[in-house]
C-alpha cells in the first residue's frame, strides 16, 4: 500500500483516523498498532507475521539487555540480536534499522528498554514511517508513545504537510521519473548528450521529491497522530560540500549510519587512520543496505570517496573559493551518484555517464533533445525552485508581514491552495493505462 493510492486515501486512512480519534485514551495505541499491522499486512500477510515475530524478539532482547549485568554476556546478546535482525526475512528495511538502533541504545545505556509491550509494538510498527523513513529512534518519540495530547495546531500542520508531500510525489516525482526512465531506457541504444543531461537532471530532482515527499507525508501523518518525527531533508541540493550534503539528505538514515557504524569505527579521537577508512566502510555498508548490487556499493563508495577527499584538505579549499563553485561541485557529484543508484547495472551507469560527458559516437544534441527542452523546461524549472528554501521563506515572510484583513486573506488563500493541491494530487493518484511519456 502506498500513500498515493486511492485505497490508502479513501479507505484505509479515513476509517483508521475515525476509529483512532474516537478511541479513548490508552485504546488509541491498540488502534494504532492494529492499523499499522494491517498496513503492513495488506501488501503481504506473511510480512506482517514476520514483523510480529521480529517485534517480540526485539522486545524480549531489549529487556534481557537491561537486566543482564555481565558485560561479556551483554555484548554476546547484542551480536546475537544484530545477526538475527539482519537474517529476518523482513529484508533490509526501516524495521531493521529501528530494531538495531533500539538494541544499540539499550546496550549503550542510552535508553531504558520499553517495558510495555504495546507501546513497544506501536514504536516498532508505526505505519507512517515504514515506507521510506524518516528513521525514528526510540528515544525521539518514547514520551509520545505513552500519551499524546490532541492538538489542533499539530493536526492541521500534519494534514497540510501530508498534502504537500503527496503533491511533491505524484505531481513532480512521478513526472520527472517518467522523463528519466525514458532517457535511461533509450540510452542503451544511444541518445544525444543533451538528452542525457535533461534525463539526469530529471532523475536528480525525482529522487529529491520522491524521498522528501514521502518523508513529508510520514511526518505529516505522524503529526496528525500526535507524534513529532525528526526532519529528514534540509534542502540538500543547496549544500556546499558532499559532507554538508550528507547532513542534509536522508538525514535520519545518514545519522543512523554515522552514529551506529561510523562513530564506533572511528573511535573517540577520530584519528585519520581510523576515521578515513571508517568513512569508506560506512559508505560501503550504506550502499549494501540500499541494495545488493555492485552499483549500490559504488554509489556508497562514491560519496564516501569525496567525503574522504574533503577531510584530506578539499574542504579547506572549498572554504576559500566562492560558494557557488562548492555548490556546483556538490550538485555535480550528487548527480553522478544518482546515475549509479538508478541504473540497473554499473555497466549501464558507466555508459550513461560517458554519454553525459560527450565521450562516444553520440551527437551533442538532436531533435529529440530540443523537443524535450521545449516542453519539459517548465517541469524542471518548478522542480528546481521547489528544491530551494525559496517558497518556504516567502511564505514565512508573508505570514509575518500580514495582520487583520491581510491575515484573513492569507489564511483563506492558504486553505485554497492546499485544497487545490489536494484535488490535483488525487487526480494524479487515479491511475490510468496512459503512459507518462515525454
Amino acid at each position: 500500500m502506498t500513500f498515493s493510492s486511492i485505497f490508502f486515501l479513501f479507505r484505509f486512512l479515513p476509517i483508521f483516523l475515525i476509529v483512532y480519534f474516537m478511541a479513548p485514551g490508552r485504546m488509541k495505541n491498540i488502534v494504532l498498532f492494529l492499523g499499522s499491522l494491517f498496513f503492513c499486512g495488506w501488501g503481504s500477510p506473511r510480512g506482517a507475521l514476520y514483523v510480529c515475530i521480529a517485534l517480540l524478539f526485539n522486545y524480549v532482547l531489549g529487556r534481557m539487555l537491561c537486566s543482564c549485568e555481565n558485560n561479556g554476556n551483554r555484548r554476546l546478546l547484542l551480536i546475537f540480536g544484530t545477526v538475527c535482525n539482519l537474517l529476518f526475512p523482513t529484508g533490509f528495511t526501516i524495521f531493521t534499522l529501528q530494531a538495531l538502533s533500539y538494541l544499540g541504545d539499550c546496550y549503550g545505556d542510552r535508553e531504558k528498554p520499553q517495558k510495555n509491550l504495546l507501546d513497544f509494538a506501536v514504536y516498532f510498527t508505526l505505519f507512517p514511517q515504514t515506507v521510506a523513513g524518516p528513521v525514528v529512534r526510540y528515544g525521539q518519540i518514547k514520551e509520545s508513545l505513552r500519551e499524546r495530547k490532541p492538538d489542533s495546531l499539530l493536526v492541521s500542520y500534519g494534514l497540510k504537510r501530508f498534502i504537500i508531500g503527496l503533491s511533491k510525489t505524484v505531481l513532480l516525482a512521478n513526472n520527472l521519473g517518467a522523463l528519466w526512465t525514458q532517457a535511461a531506457t533509450k540510452s542503451v541504444s544511444g541518445i544525444s548528450t543533451l538528452t542525457a543531461w535533461i534525463g539526469v537532471v530529471a532523475l536528480t530532482y525525482q529522487m529529491y521529491f520522491l524521498l522528501s515527499g514521502t518523508a513529508d507525508m510520514a511526518i505529516g501523518l505522524g503529526a496528525v497522530l500526535g507524534f513529532r518525527f525528526p526532519e529528514n531533508f534540509a534542502y540538500p541540493y543547496m549544500a556546499g560540500s558532499v559532507t554538508e550534503f550528507s547532513k542534509k539528505c536522508c538525514i535520519t538514515l545518514v545519522d543512523w549510519f554515522r552514529d551506529y557504524i561510523y562513530e564506533p569505527l572511528a573511535g573517540e579521537k577520530k584519528s585519520r587512520f581510523r576515521a578515513l577508512p571508517g568513512i569508506l566502510l560506512t559508505g560501503l555498508l550504506l550502499g549494501l543496505w540500499l541494495g545488493r548490487d555492485v552499483s549500490f556499493v559504488v554509489f556508497g563508495l562514491w560519496f564516501a570517496f569525496w567525503m574522504v577527499l574533503e577531510q584530506l584538505g578539499l574542504h579547506k579549499l572549498l572554504e576559500h573559493i566562492p560558494g557557488i563553485i562548492g555548490r556546483g561541485y556538490t550538485f555535480f557529484t550528487v548527480l553522478v551518484g544518482w546515475v549509479l543508484f538508478a541504473m540497473d547495472s554499473w555497466k549501464e551507469a558507466a555508459h550513461y555517464l560517458l554519454t553525459m560527458f560527450g565521450i562516444g559516437p553520440q551527437p551533442l544534441y538532436d531533435r529529440e533533445s530540443l523537443f524535450w527542452g521545449s516542453h519539459v523546461w517548465m517541469l524542471l524549472a518548478v522542480a528546481m525552485i521547489g528544491a530551494t528554501p525559496l517558497c518556504s521563506l516567502a511564505e514565512k515572510r508573508l505570514r509575518a508581514s500580514v495582520s487583520g484583513a491581510g491575515l484573513a486573506l492569507y489564511r483563506f488563500l492558504e486553505k485554497l491552495i492546499v485544497a487545490v493541491l489536494l484535488l490535483v494530487s488525487i487526480a494524479y493518484c487515479v491511475k490510468t493505462p496512459m503512459m507518462l511519456s515525454y
Binding site: I6, S156, K160, I163, T432, M435, S437
Partner: protein, 382 residues
Amino acid sequence: MDLYGERKNARKTIVFLCAIMMILLVADLLQKDVLISPEENRILQTKPGLSGETLASGEYMERYEEYLNDQFVGRANWITIQNITARAFQKKVMNDIYLAKDGYLMPRHLPEDFSLELQEASLSNLDAFLADYPQAKVMLVPTADSVLTDKLPAFAPYFDQEAFLERAKERVGADRFIDVLPVLREHAGEEIYYRTDRHWTTLGAYYGYEAFAKSFPKPPRWYLHGELQTVKTDFRGDLYAKAKQHARPDNIMIFPRVMEADSYRITYDGYLNRRDFYEERYLEGNGSYRYFLDDTHGIVEIERESYLDGTLLVIKDSYANAMIPLLAHHYKKIYVVDLNYFNANLTEYMQNKDIYGNMDVLVLYNCTNFIRSFPYESARTQ
C-alpha cells in the same frame, strides 16, 4: 502571537480538508460500479472475489486496489484534471499523441520505430505480392504528421515518410506507384485529416481517389466540395480517446451516393449482407470512423448491379475504408482484403475470381501501417 486565532484557524483547516475527503468518500461509496470506461475505451476492474488463497498470496489486495482505483468516483473528471495540469506544464505529448497546432492531435511516429530492416521486410513482402499480381498499383498514404508537418510541436521528432515513399516508388516503379504525398501536400490547407483521429477525412480520401483514377486510368466522377454532406458534427476519434486532450471535434462527411440505393450488395466476411457502405449505428458515440465499411473485416465483397464487367482487388488497411465508396461505381465486383484479419490462403481465395480477365489490383495502406505490417507472405502460404 494570537494563539486563540491560530487554533481557530487550525480547526477550520482541519474541518475544511476533512470535508473534502469525506464528500469524495461518501460519493465514492454511493456510486455504482461501471463495467467500461467509454473515454478510455477499456474494461474496468470489478470487485474481486475473496478466497483464502488470493488473500494469502496478496493477489486479492492487489486486485482490490485496482478495483477501487478503476471505480473511483468521477474518474473521467480526474483524468481531465490530469490533462489540464499536464498542459499547464507545457507538455506537448500525451500517451504518444502529439498535441499539435491548430487543435490537431497527431500520432507520434518516432524514426527509430521504423528501422530500415522493418521497411525492407514490408517492401520485400510487397515484391512478392507484385510478382503474383504484376498489374497491381500501390498507393501508400502518408499520415498527418508527414503532410501537415508545420503543425507539429516545435522540434517534435517524427518519422519522415517522404524518404520511405521515394524508396518504395523506386522499388515498385513509378508507373505502378500512385504518389499521393504531393497531392495531399498541395491540399494541406484543407481538412484532409481529422483533428482527433488518425485517418484521413473523406475529402482527403477524395484526393486519393483522384490520384487513383488518373493512374489506372478511369474516367473519374468529379465531385464538388459543396456536395459533401455532414453526417456527424461532434466526432472525437481514436487520437482524442488516447490523448484525452481538448481538441476541436471533427465533422464526418460523405459525398453523395453516385448510384441508386440498392444497387450494391456488400458482404462482410462472407455472411453479413448490406446495401450501403455506411453504417449509421457507429455515428453514435466514439470511434465513428467505423461508419465507413463497418470497421474491420478480413474480406469485404462488393457487387454492383450493372452492365460493367470490371473486377478490383484491394489489399488494404482502414485508410481505404473512406475511399472505397468513392471508387466503387467503376467496378462490377470489388474484393477488399485486410491481410491482418484475413484467415485464409489469399491465392486460393482469389482463384477464378478474375472472371473478366481484366482485374485491377490496388494496394492501399497508410504508410506507417504498411511498414509495421504487410503480412503478404503469411497470407499467401496460410
